[in-house]
């Protein structure tokens, strides 16, 4: 596709519900990243995939957060039993090569999650 696509753009969940956020990276991009951006803050890293392999999940805040990229393309970030502190914008980014500073990360417009 022309850019990184994320859906839905907005998600409202009741506390305790499970949610699934989708990211469709730029076609052919090997690397995929998820970031969490709290209101008025910079994005914080959650997890990184190289193709279908999840190589770094050090930023996932708890075991309620789970990400997958089974065919090395589309990725889903799942949050189980959502809590109010999960309210944030979730950004997805992709890059052409394996993770390296020389590879520019292209971002989607994010999903704004509000947990009531």
């Amino acid at each position: 596709g022309a850019g990184v696509s994320q859906s839905p753009r907005y998600k409202v969940a009741k506390r305790g519900q499970d949610v699934a956020l989708r990211c469709d990276p730029i076609s052919g991009h090997v690397s995929l990243f998820w970031y969490q951006q709290a209101l008025g803050q910079g994005p914080e890293f959650l997890t990184y995939f190289q193709n279908e392999a999840q190589l770094d999940k050090s930023g996932l805040p708890s075991d309620r957060f789970f990400a997958e990229r089974p065919e090395g393309s589309v990725s889903t970030l799942k949050i189980q039993r959502t809590q109010q502190e999960d309210s944030a914008v979730y950004l997805c980014a992709s890059s052409l090569g394996a993770s390296a500073g020389g590879n520019i990360q292209y971002f989607g417009a994010g999903t704004r999650l509000s947990v009531l």
Partner: protein, 114 residues
């Protein structure tokens, strides 16, 4: 651990004037990259400019340029001939070492006065 600090939460500039956004970082790595990203209200992060630490020459992209001071660990962004469309949040970011991630500062909100 690497940290990125943007100490100015907000700045304002008159249209057609020049503004400089500040960023400092901390790292023990010798080889790394620094970035400035722009985030308009649409939320989509757009890369403005990138600097490789081993290059002494400051990066430039049209109206955007950086002042990279490696010894001082400073990486400021200069926007010349500011335009209304430059109004956005600007984030300074770092990538380096064995990390697979970008580390972002808290961002600065830039407003442009017509």
């Amino acid at each position: 651990a690497q940290t990125v600090t943007q100490s100015q939460p907000e700045m304002s500039v008159q249209e057609a004037e020049t503004v400089t956004l500040s960023c400092t970082y901390d790292t023990s790595e010798s080889d790394y990259y620094l970035f400035w990203y722009k985030q308009p209200p649409s939320r989509q992060m757009i890369l403005v400019i990138r600097q490789e630490a081993y290059k002494q020459q400051n990066a430039t992209e049209n109206r955007f340029s950086v002042n990279f001071q490696k010894a001082a660990k400073s990486f400021s962004l200069k926007i010349s001939d500011s335009q209304l469309g430059d109004a956005a949040m600007y984030f300074c970011a770092y990538w380096g070492g064995a990390n697979s991630k970008l580390t972002f500062g808290k961002g600065i909100t830039l407003s442009v006065r017509p």
